[in-house]
């Protein structure tokens, strides 16, 4: 760039010197251009992948921009707020995570976690809510400080817990409570047009208050006692019934054994009798006598025998008493 020159006349002589004023003016112009360019460039902004940009022109909402490099008119005409719409946020009720750890540290918030159930019992509930911003425009412009507030969560949770009995809450009803709380909470934030979607409601700890915990534990052990008693009784039944069946079987078998023995014996006896009878038939009187004598030979040795003449009277009295006579006889 040629340096601007101007002619000045000093003492009738003409000198060519650099035109400082023009030079300065030009420099100023250049400065303005640079500043202007920088100002225009300051409108470039980047929206991260999980974000959306919300652009306001003079305070009025004009457009939502997507992730990537974007341009807005520079301050003070347009401004942009970047809202993390894909991020899942969480809120804790009943406790706070002080240090995510490991090991994680928590602080208990009994004033949040103790609540009334149906039938006016008190239960302790810790809860985590996960939510997302689905409408960044509503989120920014419709509700003041929505994100920070835990109030609708508590309100919804307590309303739901108030409808359920304590036993249900402590045992089987957890899923139902999560579900109902989620629905109710979504309904509440929708009515506020908060631009939020409740992703999940998770009951963390649900247990009876410390003051009555031992009583609840006793119920649990009572339930175990019941099962134990029933098990023992079933064990008893399982013991005696098979045993009884065994004994019964034995009884029947014994009877069967007896029966076959009895019949066999009868058959044997009958056979024996038949055999003897055949023998006897061939020589009746002789056989009978022989058998009688054989019996006597077996029976009579070794016992006292008196042979007494049977007179008309008193014959038997002569030898009485029989007992001492028998004794005397033995001496």
């Amino acid at each position: 760039m040629p340096i601007p020159k101007k002619n000045i006349t000093i003492g009738g002589e003409v000198f060519e010197v650099p035109d400082l004023g023009a030079l300065f003016g030009r420099g100023l112009n250049a400065l303005f251009i640079v500043i202007g360019a920088l100002w225009l460039l300051s409108g470039i902004y980047i929206v991260q992948a999980e974000q959306q940009g919300v652009v306001r022109r003079f305070g009025k909402f004009v457009r939502v921009t997507s992730p990537g490099i974007n341009y807005r008119l520079p301050w003070p005409i347009e401004r942009v707020d970047k809202v993390g719409v894909a991020t899942v946020r969480r809120a804790e009720v009943g406790f706070r995570t002080i240090d995510p750890g490991p090991p994680a540290k928590y602080q208990d918030k009994p004033e949040e976690s103790l609540m009334l159930t149906g039938n006016l019992n008190i239960v302790k509930v810790d809860l985590i809510i996960q939510y997302k911003i689905v409408d960044p425009v509503d989120f920014l412009f419709k509700v003041k400080g929505m994100e920070a507030t835990r109030r609708p969560i508590e309100a919804a949770l307590r309303q739901v817990v108030g409808k359920h009995e304590i036993d249900e809450i402590l045992t089987t009803g957890k899923g139902e409570i999560q579900e109902e709380t989620l629905m109710l909470l979504q309904k509440i934030v929708d009515s506020y047009e908060a631009g939020l979607k409740i992703v999940a409601v998770q009951l963390q700890d649900v247990h009876p208050p410390d003051a009555v915990r031992d009583a609840f534990k006793d119920v649990a052990s009572a339930r175990e006692d019941r099962d134990r008693l029933v098990n023992i009784a079933q064990g008893y039944a399982a013991d005696i019934i098979p045993r009884a069946r065994g004994e019964a079987a034995k009884m029947v078998k014994d009877a069967e054994a007896f029966a076959s023995e009895r019949v066999a014996k009868a058959e044997g006896d009958a056979e024996n009798f038949n055999r003897i009878l055949n023998e006897y038939r061939s020589a009746r009187e002789v056989t009978r006598k022989r058998m009688l004598l054989e019996t006597l030979e077996q029976v009579l040795p070794g016992l006292k025998k008196y042979i007494v003449k049977s007179d008309k009277s008193g014959g038997i009295l002569n030898i009485l008493p029989l007992g001492s006579a028998a004794e005397g006889g033995r001496k």
Binding site: F58, G59, K60, L114, L116, G118, L120, I122, F141, V143, K144, R151, P152, E154, A155, R158, G162, I188, S191, Y192, P209, A215, S221, D225, R226, D227, L229, I232, A233, Q234, Y236, A237, I241, R243, A244, E247, A248, M251, V252, A255, A259, V263, A266, A270, F273, L277, Y280, R281, T295, L296, Q298, L300, L303, K304, Y306, I307, V308, K309, I319, L322
Partner: protein
Amino acid sequence: MKRNRTLRWIVIALVVILMTAYQVDEIDQAIVLQLGKPVRVVIEPGLHFKLPWPIQSVIFLDKRLLDYDSNPTEILTRDKKNLVLDNYAKWRIIDPLKFYVSVRDENGAQARLDDIIYSELRVELGKHDLDEVVTKNREDLMANVTTTTNEAAKAYGIEVVDVRIKRADLPAENERSVYERMRAERKRIANQYRSEGEEEALKIRAAADSMKVTIMANAYKEAQTIRGQAEGKAIDIYAKAVGKDPDFYDFLRSMEAYRKIIDTSTVLVLPPETEWLKWLK
């Protein structure tokens, strides 16, 4: 020279704009005050103009849904029970002019809402039993309070969108009695479990015992039947055999019986006429 003049105009224009323009944000609404007196309300967000200060000035009010949170208060229910209520409300400014004139700003509004909500809650809860407030129709109840509160707040340019019970708890001294009751209830349930266990166990034992008796009785019956049939059969066999010569059987059986009956302690007194002694004579 010409350039200087345009520069001058630009500067003047900028100054004028700076003095007269104002911007209303999406979250705000504005009231234009002329010498302290409200002259118009601007709700539409964007760039707007007014006469320069000090003739006209602008105040901004929030257009969003706002929070109200009270301190927990004790309220008496219809069944004369105390309940500690902690409630919150969502409200917004719908009539900025009325709002500005009557309560001025959000702090003023909070104080006014305190009064309104507390009295409406007291009225509404006075119509319900404790049990209803905690469990059954909390939702209807709150809808009623919202409606009546909203009605009362209209005078201040405020719309109450939602009044909600955040916490409804019993006062500390009642809490103790609740714990007592809970403990008693648990005790009852525990006892019930234990006696149910005993009942069940007794039933099982009794059933087992009775089953055992039945099994044994049936077995006895079967065994006796078998024995009986065997006896019958044996008798039949004997009878058939004996029937061929009953007299001989009598003799034979007697012989057998003698062998068993007579032993060494037996004393036999015999007349000499006895048949088998005849050879002694």
